[in-house]
Amino acid sequence: MQEAMIKRAKELLADGTVNRVIGWKRGEFVYDSTPAVFGTADEIDAEFVFDDFTQANVSKYLVKESKKDGKILAFLKPCDTYSFNQLVKEHRIIRENVYVIGIPGGPKLDIEKIKAKGITGILNVKNVNYTLEIETLYGTEKLPFYEAISGKCADCKSKKHVVYDELIGEDGDVLDSNRFDMVEKLENMTAQERYDFWRGELSKCIRCNACRNVCPACTCENCVFDNPKSGIENKAAADSFEENMFHIIRAFHVAGRCTDCGECSRVCPQHIPLHLLNRKFIKDINSLYGEYQAGADTTSKSPLTDYRADDCEPSIVHERGVE
């Protein structure tokens, strides 16, 4: 796949269709690729990489990149196309300035999952028939591929590209995923259990803002939490209330726009399952206002900027599920 992508990128650069390419750049180790913009064929030959570890969603970079001169080539995985489409819908990305090539998605590997097994000193990771052979300073370890896949890929919602100018490889379908299972499990707990669960998770937060800054739905020029005039600006959670506040408000601000790309949980240094907050909103929206997938198109009204005269009353929250 990497070769096909490099070949096509160089062709499009050579014929002048685009003047830049956004993709991933090889890192120090086998797993730490960085999203990067390439300007020449030489740079691409030297550093472009696409492998099991290139998880990062590059859509958000296009907010800035699409405003620069000339057209940029973006390689988007299926989940990234949803984010891209949503940003186009919100007029954050100038669609004409991006040439989108759809590429196959995951499942991608998460190095943190491998490290969590106690494997350290990792020098190389090879996928041999869905068994990972991990070469380390302390010998070779084996791990089934599916035990190391990224959380966001484990709950993959769609293999379909919702937007592209051309495809490399086959297009897939929207999947029947069980991504709401964990939300449901929490809903069936008692309020005290839910409270304890979230206190345990959110108290780990170090307020690094990685979830916010990586989120393709969080593109405000000045976030309320950075704005001294908002009255709620804070740089650190000085109290458990502020931990709750940040995550409730952040999830709320992206409700109806979150495509469930899973980047928030991927980047969290403390492994807080932040995607569950967003999924709770998605699940509620689906069940109360009809199925809705943010980013699936660029024309439909988002559930929170729309209404029906016969919508349910908020009292539904007090009546259903477990108290």
């Binding site: 120090e28 180790f29 020098l123 300073l137 780990k204 307020r207 740089k235 650190a236 980047v267």
Partner: protein
């Protein structure tokens, strides 16, 4: 050297924690480690290091500095400091131990930060020599020997026993307080373990990382480098690197209106944030490029310029492991080195 056998380590913890607070790294469900206050039955983590560094003990993420109360037209200032009690941090790695030396240079220089100093005086740092470094480790680039860490007491393990070596008077006092549980031990095996670890250190992917092209005298050359544009491009401007870093020491001081008074607190700040050092006229660093450059210039150029050549990085590798886009100090150093 005095030692205790590995199966008696927990009884040692019980004895220490009976007298003062003891913090040890423990495993979390998700396979990473964090420092927790020791309670009987807790197992020490086998992880190489914790996600958050040990600097939290001396420089916590938030701390209350003072309270103000309004009484008519008078403002009453309340010093909220409580006398800090003695505490022990056990299992600090060599990199984090060095980070305290770096933080000391900032907080104990005139004017002395009395909040920091107070905690520093009450804390005993018990370090643990490394035996299984990770691929992200590069402490040797900053002349740190992970097989013989700094700190008040250094602890070494040969797999069966833990050996205790005092590095200063405070360390000696700690060892004296637990001397009845220790016994004399033969260190032959230990020397073997140390030499093995040193061999592994040389095989690490970052073993040859050099700091030669950095330091105070390289200021203009690096500041004006054209590489920053490319390097900072992927940075998303979060504070992950800053907040997991054992040496980052920038903070902000804020007032919080509680509705019945004011609490003045300080909290960590990150130079990656858009409102870092924001002043009345605005922000001195308007672009992510400038903010990104600030962080690395501080560690590799400004800090050594002001501190006799000592770098502001200890090579713990946390930012390498945690950066959401895997852009880190090693990549920056290597890029700047290339001509």
């Amino acid at each position: 050297m005095l030692k205790i056998s590995a199966d008696k380590l927990n009884s040692l913890f019980d004895a220490v924690s009976a007298k003062q607070s003891l913090y040890i790294p423990v495993d979390r469900e998700s396979g990473s480690a964090e420092y927790r206050k020791y309670k009987s039955g807790m197992e020490m983590s086998k992880c190489l290091n914790t996600v958050r560094s040990a600097k939290d003990f001396f420089f916590p993420q938030t701390e209350n500095l003072a309270d103000f109360k309004m009484n008519g037209k008078n403002i009453e200032v309340i010093d909220v400091r409580e006398e800090c009690e003695d505490f022990v941090i056990f299992g600090v790695r060599a990199c984090d131990a060095r980070s305290f030396t770096i933080l000391d240079k900032v907080f104990l220089a005139e004017p002395v930060d009395s909040y920091y100093k107070n905690r520093r005086e009450h804390g005993t740092v018990v370090t643990m020599a490394c035996t299984r470094p990770a691929e992200t480790c590069f402490c040797t680039a900053f002349d740190i020997d992970p097989t013989s860490p700094e700190g008040d007491v250094a602890v070494f393990s040969d797999g069966e026993s833990y050996f205790f070596k005092p590095n200063n008077d405070k360390g000696q006092a700690f060892i004296d307080s637990i001397a009845d549980m220790l016994e004399d031990g033969d260190t032959a095996e230990l020397a073997q373990v140390q030499s093995n670890t040193r061999k592994i250190m040389q095989m690490l992917p970052l073993a040859n990382l050099s700091t030669d092209s950095f330091g105070g005298e390289k200021l203009m050359e690096h500041f004006n480098s054209e590489k920053w544009a490319n390097l900072s491009e992927s940075c998303i401007g979060c504070g992950t690197c800053t907040f997991v870093c054992p040496t980052c020491q920038c903070y902000d001081i804020r007032d919080f209106d509680t509705g019945n008074g004011i609490k003045r607190f300080r909290c960590w700040d990150s130079c990656m944030y858009s409102d870092f050092t924001k002043m009345a006229h605005g922000n001195p660093r308007n672009t992510q490029l400038e903010r990104f450059r600030q962080r690395f210039m501080h560690k590799l150029v400004y800090f050594p310029a002001n501190n006799n050549g000592e770098f502001g990085c200890v090579g713990c590798g946390r930012c390498l492991a945690k950066c959401p886009v895997s852009m880190n100090i090693v990549k920056v150093m290597k890029a700047l080195e290339e001509k």
